[in-house]
């Protein structure tokens, strides 16, 4: 188990390192860096050179990378080129926003999606199943930003209410915090509930088709007993696995939703940093995205191992 963990972590680390390197080189290949943006239509060539040297952009790319990597290994992620704030602070704060949004969305998706999936699976082929599946497919098909936009405008028109604009953390002002997150969570949560429900339905259906379940039903065991005795146990593992998958999907979808609802999360930070060519922020934000995806995958695998006795023995 420990050996497995070490091996996985090592591979993940290598992947993350490669990912940062590729991004590092990639963003520097294109024209229009931060200095050009600071200069705008004004400025002199000498001032431009001076500023480029200030940011180290006059060095060869590989030297810039190793300088960055060296700093990162010492725990120094640098300073934003446009804002001057430490990358760790900016990315950290943005990540907390995204994490809160992601977890709350996951909670909603789970609360709605799992029961729907189980019900659909148990009543496979009946009208209830068809209805739930129609909801699922609609949810999978709907573009998240479009749903968000419709909800924002719809709520504004119906209730004359729109979310507050200044983000406050849950510890600062919980009600403002939730008021700001409510619509994004709803938009993203229901769509992801559809995806979750679809996964769960499939595992319930396949569990229902297992011979021993069929036998139990044939013997006249009440549905409820069959469900709790046989099915739930079989379905528990996929539900946990899917939770990780859904969380990663949510973190992807959050990028778009944040841009729509003016949330100062990681996605919006990444987008604005790409726009302003603030490379240290791009680098830091992507590193967090990559590492989070890896950690979630790793945790899912570990839980999977813990829950499944067969895997634990091997």
């Amino acid at each position: 188990m420990l050996a497995y963990l070490v091996k996985r972590l090592g591979a993940s680390l290598l992947t993350a390192l490669l990912a940062t390197f590729l991004v590092f080189v990639f963003v520097r290949m294109v024209p229009g860096d931060v200095v050009a943006q600071m200069m705008g239509q004004a400025g002199s060539d000498r001032a431009e050179e001076a500023l480029r040297a200030f940011f180290g952009l006059d060095q060869p790319v590989w030297m810039q990378y190793f300088a960055w990597l060296g700093d990162v290994l010492r725990g120094d992620f640098g300073v934003s080129w446009t804002r001057g704030m430490p990358v760790t602070e900016m990315v950290g704060e943005a990540f907390l926003v995204t994490l809160e949004l992601g977890l709350l969305t996951l909670a909603l998706a789970t609360i709605v999606g799992v029961p729907l999936g189980i019900i659909a699976g148990i009543y496979e082929g009946r009208a209830l199943d068809t209805t739930i599946q129609a909801f699922n497919i609609l949810g999978l098909a709907a573009p998240v930003f479009w749903v968000g936009l419709m909800i924002l405008v719809g709520v504004s028109a119906t209730f004359s209410w729109s979310p507050p604009l200044r983000f406050q953390g849950p510890t600062e002002d919980l009600s403002e915090n939730l008021a700001m997150l409510l619509l994004p969570i709803l938009s993203l949560g229901f769509l992801q509930a559809a995806a979750y429900s679809q996964f769960v339905r499939q595992s319930v259906v396949s569990a229902m088709h297992e011979d021993y379940v069929r036998t139990a039903i044939a013997k006249g065991m009440p549905t409820r007993t069959v469900f709790f005795k046989h099915i739930l146990r079989n379905v528990a593992i996929p539900i946990v696995t899917f939770m990780g998958l859904i969380l990663i999907q949510i973190l992807g979808g959050v990028v778009i939703i944040e841009s729509l609802f003016a949330l100062p999360g990681l996605g919006r930070l990444l987008l604005s940093a790409i726009e302003t060519r603030d490379y240290p922020i791009v680098q830091g934000a992507l590193l967090v995205v990559v590492v989070v995806a890896m950690v979630v995958n790793l945790v899912v695998d570990l839980v999977y191992h813990l829950l499944d006795p067969r895997l634990r023995i091997s």
Binding site: V30, P31, G32, D33, A36, Q37, M38, M39, G40, Q41, A42, G43, S44, R46, A47, E48, A50, L51, F54, V79, T82, R83, G84, M85, M90, E93, A94, L149, L152, V153, S156, S160, W161, S162, P163, P164, L165, R166, F167, S259, L260, F261, A262, L263, P264, G265, R268, L269, S272, E275, T276, R277, D278
Partner: protein
């Protein structure tokens, strides 16, 4: 309820803020108060919420050229002069000044009793330090080019400072305004972290000081109690929210999350007209939307092709499409400066739609069978998309086939600065002074940047003359000649100025939008319902 802009709002100067100018400049078209009209009996206090679509990339007046930065930092930092809305520089931190007969030495008397946000008092040494810092290109300021004409700065006494120029320059006072740089405490940049600190702590002399600046969220400023000017400002605090799109902005405005907005797309007015408790006002702007024609492209190097394009361009129709008519068509001068410096559009050559003549010119240039050109637009500039498709139709009339290409701002700026812009839309503004507007953009290299590769000797000579002349009438005549040349040989086609359309809650009083788009007006704004 739509109020249109009317000139009576620009009251004649009465306030204590306007002090004597030692050198008599030409009489301005109409005088005015510093920052905006001074109210008789403003309510004090309260927090104003303003919505903005573009977030400043940083708050450093010395190293950030972005207009989104300038519009906010003018509230926290001050230069020696204020860019009067009518195109005249008004003393700000300077109190008065004298110019030597050869026009090379400016002696500024400074305002006394001015304090920085850190509590220290402003003296001539701070002024000398600040302008010495920005004019040294090694310090990497985008404004360095504008200050190249200064050859020496000398502290005479605590409240007197003398600038020596390498050549006469009538627009020096306007250059010492608030676009680039500001007066900050001497030695500020000695600390290597100073540049970054400006994003968390302001060090200027302005009426507001920085409280917090949260990326992708908001910026909060509060009243600076040590501010030198009377009882201004009247607001306790201003909270700027940065919104990612106009949809969110309009929704927030409707639901009272925002009190004041300067619409980036004037036509958005249609979406909020008729809402109870919201007032709409229009103000003229210094901004200009233009078509630039870079002569580095073979077809565009032929003046006849450029003239044909100018003749085929229907500015009115472009404006209708781009901003729904919320602006004014211009000749060669932005709307807010037209009265003082411009040539009336009907006296300019190559204006108006004349398809026949345009076709003839193209034929003469050897493009009778048609011509393919690429028009560049910039990602994020909403007006360019509808304008581009409209221009495509218009130029189609004379056999020019436009291929529209949208690029990122960074890429566009790179092309622009490397004088490789081709045919492109442009959206720019300057301080309200013809030298600052034209010189850098249109003077031959190396003195100017000549971004459009116009390389026009005659025009450059006029620009030199205009810069050296100090008499208003003389300057006006020189710049009129320049504008005739500009219109005749078409390195650029200035299309229209979009109005500033300000939408605010009925409680918001006395906000006047400065033509630059900068937020000076907030210094004079107050809230009805403030306690």
């Amino acid at each position: 309820m739509t109020k249109t802009f009317d000139l009576t709002r620009w009251r004649h100067a009465t306030g204590a803020a306007v002090t004597a100018v030692a050198l008599a400049l030409a009489a301005p078209a109409f005088a005015q108060d510093l920052y905006g009209p001074i109210p008789d009996d403003p309510n004090m206090g309260g927090t104003l919420n303003m919505g903005l679509l573009v977030e400043p990339p940083g708050l450093d007046p010395f190293h950030q050229a972005a207009d989104a930065r300038i519009q906010m930092t003018v509230l926290m930092y001050q230069g020696l002069f204020y860019e009067g809305a009518d195109g005249e520089a008004m003393p700000l931190l300077a109190e008065s000044y004298e110019v030597s007969d050869d026009g090379l030495t400016y002696t500024f008397k400074l305002r006394e009793g001015v304090t920085f946000h850190d509590g220290s008092e402003m003296t001539a040494e701070d002024v000398a330090y600040s302008y010495d810092y920005i004019r040294d290109p090694e310090n990497g300021s985008p404004g360095a080019g504008d200050f190249e004409i200064i050859s020496n700065i000398e502290v005479v006494d605590d409240y007197t400072v003398r600038f020596t120029l390498s050549a006469p320059n009538a627009s020096l006072p306007m250059t010492l305004g608030n676009k680039y740089g500001a007066v900050i405490p001497a030695g500020y940049f000695d600390d290597e972290n100073a540049q970054n600190r400006m994003n968390s702590q302001s060090v200027g002399t302005g009426p507001f000081q920085l409280v917090e600046f949260n990326p992708n969220s908001n910026l909060m400023m509060e009243r600076f109690d040590g501010y030198w000017e009377g009882n201004a400002p009247y607001l306790d605090a201003i909270n700027f929210s940065f919104l990612p799109n106009s949809a969110s902005m309009l929704v927030a405005l409707r639901n009272d999350r925002i009190d004041l907005v300067n619409l980036s797309r004037p036509q958005d007015v249609q979406q909020i007209e008729g809402i109870e408790g919201i007032e709409i006002e229009r103000f003229p702007s210094l901004n200009q939307k233009a078509i630039d024609l870079g002569a580095e492209q073979e077809a565009l190097s032929d003046v006849r092709v450029r003239q044909a394009i100018s003749l085929a361009t229907d500015k009115q129709e472009l404006m209708e499409a781009a901003i729904g008519g919320y602006g004014e068509v211009i000749g060669t001068m932005t709307k807010a400066m037209e009265e003082r410096w411009g040539v009336p559009i009907d006296e300019l050559p190559m204006q108006g739609v004349d398809v026949e003549q345009a076709r003839a010119l193209l034929e003469e240039a050897g493009y009778g069978d048609g011509l393919e050109l690429t028009l560049t637009t910039i990602n994020g500039y909403d007006w360019m998309d509808p304008a581009a498709v409209t221009l495509k139709e218009q130029l189609g009339e004379i056999g020019i086939d436009l291929d529209i290409q949208r690029v990122d701002l960074g890429v566009w700026i790179d092309n622009f600065r490397s004088r490789n812009m081709g045919l492109t839309f442009n959206d720019w503004a300057s301080q309200p002074d013809p030298n600052l507007l034209f010189y850098r953009h249109f003077h031959q290299q190396p003195e100017g940047a000549d971004f459009r590769n116009w390389n026009n000797e005659e025009a450059s000579a006029l620009l030199d003359e205009g810069r050296a002349a100090t008499d208003y009438d003389e300057r006006r005549a020189i710049y009129a000649d320049f504008q005739m040349e500009l219109a005749e040989t078409v390195p650029t086609i200035m299309l229209f100025s979009a109005d500033h359309v300000v939408v605010h809650d009925a409680d918001v009083e006395n906000y006047v939008q400065h033509p630059t788009g900068w937020l000076y007006g907030l210094v004079r704004t107050y809230l009805d319902d403030a306690e």
